[in-house]
Symmetry: C2
Subunit: 210 residues, 2 copies
DNA sequence: CTCCTTTCGTAACGCCGTTATGAAACAGCG
DNA sequence: CGCTGTTTCATAACGGCGTTACGAAAGGAG
């Protein structure tokens, strides 16, 4: 008996597409409920019935960016050399951030950055972190870093610790770069970044002293 | 002949005080021109005649935070051991960020974060970076790291590079921590952070291969 | 006392996020 | 086939925002 629904999943996708495009273009600041609704050919109330409000729409944009991010990181296939794979993963991490700076910012540097991440859920279970954690685990299991652990071997705790360390370095570098705070011209930064990862890697992967 | 000025430097300071308090309390999102003006006992037009607008007011808040930040970092006095001093500087860096998270965010994670930093001015000449750069230079001149440079010694380029590496790690860690993305409970983070700095330090300070 | 210049508080404009409201669209029933 | 009831959505309204235009206020000059 009711009037047929127009606020369905298809419209939700279209709204999310438009919102993603707007954010990619002008950042979160440029996203308005009215504008996104108009671009999708509907009214602003659709955003409220399908998402809940502007903030929730932004969270959905962040979640979608996180999916693409995880996919991007997962697409780097292993070469058999764990250390090289980990380095490639770090490079892919930065490549995504530079290719989609606004998407990266929505995930991490948004007001209340936890929005894009499952509320209260441990970060270690997010796909993005898992990819990194797995690569670190592989590097700790064999290769040069494994020797430092000797017969005790590296456990999950070691992988979480090392992955977080590497993540902090990559995240910090990328944030500084996106904010224009690196003291080097753009054409030097690729090599500088790789050099930083190479320099910090062994120490960050090594077991804690005693 | 004119009507006496009320929009003077004293009012500017009061506005900046109120704006800083509002941002410290509720983040940049909570800052409105009308509210800050009312708190300072004036009208919103004062913000426009003294700063230029909301964005410029936020930039001034960021600049003041940067001053406090630089002062905070500069207050860590040398102990004679360059490596220990550098570690203490890293600890002070994080302590400020945790004590004034919104101030830290206004400096770095604000929309158009360059606002708080001199437009176009090289980052290497900012007080905050200089303090870090000097500490790194000292660590490269004597102590364990100096040996790796051998007879060639470390120059300004080496100090800039190493300082940026350390900065990226500290910044990334702090941003992850402020965003609630570290996989450890708060009471473990102090030690984890120091461990990360210790682990990455030697590699980040070392000269580039070949 | 009057005029003129400068200055600032007030009010207006357009836009925002959000919410209330009434028209629209269909199923079942007389 | 028309009426009714129910659900759904577009429209309009509300309060608040950043910003700007405007007119009142204030004091020196004549």
């Amino acid at each position: 008996m009711p009037r047929p629904r127009v606020h369905d999943d298809a419209l939700r996708d279209r709204l999310l597409d438009e919102a993603t495009a707007v954010v990619a273009e002008g950042g979160t600041r440029a996203l308005t409920v009215r504008d996104v609704a108009a671009r999708a050919g509907t009214s602003s109330s659709a955003v409220y019935s399908l998402f809940g409000g502007r903030e929730a729409l932004l969270a959905a944009v962040g979640a979608r960016a996180a999916e693409r991010f995880a996919g991007h990181l997962g697409s780097t296939r292993g070469t058999g050399d764990p250390a090289a794979d980990l380095l490639a993963l770090g490079v892919a991490y930065r490549r995504f951030a530079l290719a989609e700076p606004q998407g990266y910012r929505v995930m991490f540097a948004s007001p209340g950055a936890g929005a894009a991440h499952p509320a209260g859920g441990p970060v270690t279970e997010e796909p993005t972190f898992r990819v990194l954690q797995d690569a670190v685990r592989a590097a700790l299991a064999e290769g040069p870093a494994a020797d430092a652990y000797g017969t005790r071997g590296a456990d999950a705790e070691d992988a979480t610790r090392a992955a977080t360390h590497v993540w902090a370095l990559a995240h910090g570098w990328v944030m500084l770069e996106l904010d224009g705070l690196l003291p080097w011209p753009p054409d030097e930064r690729d090599a500088r970044y790789v050099a930083a990862l190479r320099a910090a890697g062994p120490g960050l992967l090594a077991p804690p002293p005693v």
